[in-house]
C-alpha cells in the first residue's frame, strides 16, 4: 500500500512531477529575500489551494450521485456509473492512481504533500525551524507553532 504522503506523486508521470517541482522551486526562490509579511501572505494562499484530494472528493460523489439519479429515473444500468466511480476512489486510496489524475497533474494540481513541502521552505525562510533545535539541549523545543 502506498504511503499517504506520496501516493499521488507515485501515480503521476515523471514529467508532470518534475514540472510541478520546478514551479515550486521557482516560487520558493522568489521568496528568499521576502519580508515576513509577504511570506505570511503566501502561506495563506497555499492554505486556499485546491489539492488533488479536494477535487476528487467533489468530482467522485457527483458521478456517484448522478449514476444513482439516472439509475432510478432512466435505466438501472446507470448504477454502473456509480459503482465504477466509487471503485475508482477505493483504487485511489489503496494504490494512488485515479482516472482524472493524469489530467489534474498535467494542469499542475498539487497533492497536499507537495503544498506542505513548499510551506516547509517558507517556514524555514522565516526561521521557524530554529524553534526545534537540532541538539538536545534545553526545553526550548517544547512548543510547536501551527501556521
Amino acid at each position: 500500500m502506498q504511503p499517504t504522503t506520496t501516493r499521488v506523486e507515485a501515480s503521476t508521470a515523471a514529467g508532470s512531477n518534475e514540472a510541478i517541482r520546478q514551479d515550486s522551486e521557482q516560487r520558493i526562490a522568489a521568496y528568499i529575500q521576502a519580508e515576513p509579511q509577504a511570506i505570511e501572505q503566501r502561506l495563506r494562499e497555499l492554505d486556499r489551494e485546491w489539492t488533488t484530494e479536494r477535487i476528487i472528493e467533489t468530482e467522485a460523489p457527483l458521478m456517484v450521485g448522478l449514476g444513482v439519479l439516472l439509475g432510478l429515473t432512466k435505466d438501472r444500468r446507470w448504477f454502473g456509473l456509480s459503482a465504477v466511480s466509487a471503485s475508482m476512489v477505493i483504487l485511489h486510496n489503496l494504490q494512488g492512481w485515479y482516472p482524472l489524475l493524469p489530467i489534474l497533474r498535467r494542469l499542475g494540481v498539487r497533492s497536499q504533500n507537495e503544498i506542505e513541502q513548499e510551506r516547509y521552505a517558507l517556514r524555514v525562510l522565516r526561521g521557524e525551524h530554529s524553534r526545534h533545535p537540532t541538539r538536545v539541549s534545553s526545553d526550548a523545543a517544547s512548543t510547536t507553532t501551527v501556521h
Partner: protein, 149 residues
C-alpha cells in the same frame, strides 16, 4: 487441534512478514535503548508518511458505503435515500468541511494532513534537515531539504 491463542495468527503469516514485523520492533527498541535521537526521528517520520489522514479515510468510507448503498438500492428503491445522501455528504465535506463520519473519525484520533505535516516539520527541524540549506539561502537546496523523507 485447536491452536494457541497467542500464536495462531503469526503461524499463519508468511515467515518474511513475521520477520519484518519483528525487525521493526527490534529497531524501535534498539533506538530507545541507545537513546538514538536521529533513529527515533527517522522511525517516526516513516510512520507519519503512512498515517491515514482524514481525507484518505473519509474517501474510503465514502466509496465503501456508496457501494453498499448502491447494492441495497438495486434490490429495493427505498435505499436510494442513503445512496444519494452518502455522495451529498462527501461533497459537503469537500466544499464546506463537515460530514457525519468526520466527528467519529476525529474522536478516534484521525488527523488532518496539516496536523501530520506540522509534526513532520518539527521532526525534520530537530533532525537538522534545514540547517545547511538555510545558510546557503539557495531555493533549490531549501526545496530539497523540505522534500527529504
Amino acid at each position: 487441534m485447536i491452536p494457541d491463542t497467542a500464536t495462531r495468527a503469526s503461524s499463519h503469516s508468511p515467515s518474511e512478514v513475521n520477520a519484518w514485523i519483528r525487525e521493526e520492533m527490534n529497531a524501535r527498541l534498539q533506538a530507545l535503548e541507545n537513546n538514538d535521537r536521529d533513529a527515533l526521528i527517522d522511525q517516526r517520520l516513516h510512520e507519519l508518511e503512512r498515517e491515514w489522514d482524514v481525507e484518505r479515510s473519509l474517501q474510503s468510507n465514502f466509496a465503501i458505503v456508496s457501494l453498499v448503498a448502491l447494492a441495497l438500492t438495486a434490490g429495493n428503491k427505498r435505499w436510494s435515500a442513503l445512496a444519494l445522501a452518502v455522495p451529498a455528504f462527501m461533497i459537503q465535506h469537500a466544499l464546506q468541511g463537515w460530514c457525519p463520519p468526520l466527528s467519529v473519525l476525529r474522536r478516534f484520533g484521525f488527523r488532518t494532513a496539516r496536523e501530520i505535516s506540522d509534526e513532520r516539520f518539527a521532526l525534520k527541524a530537530m533532525r537538522g534537515d534545514f540547517d545547511e540549506a538555510v545558510h546557503s539561502r539557495n531555493a533549490q537546496a531549501i526545496a530539497k531539504a523540505s522534500r527529504r523523507k
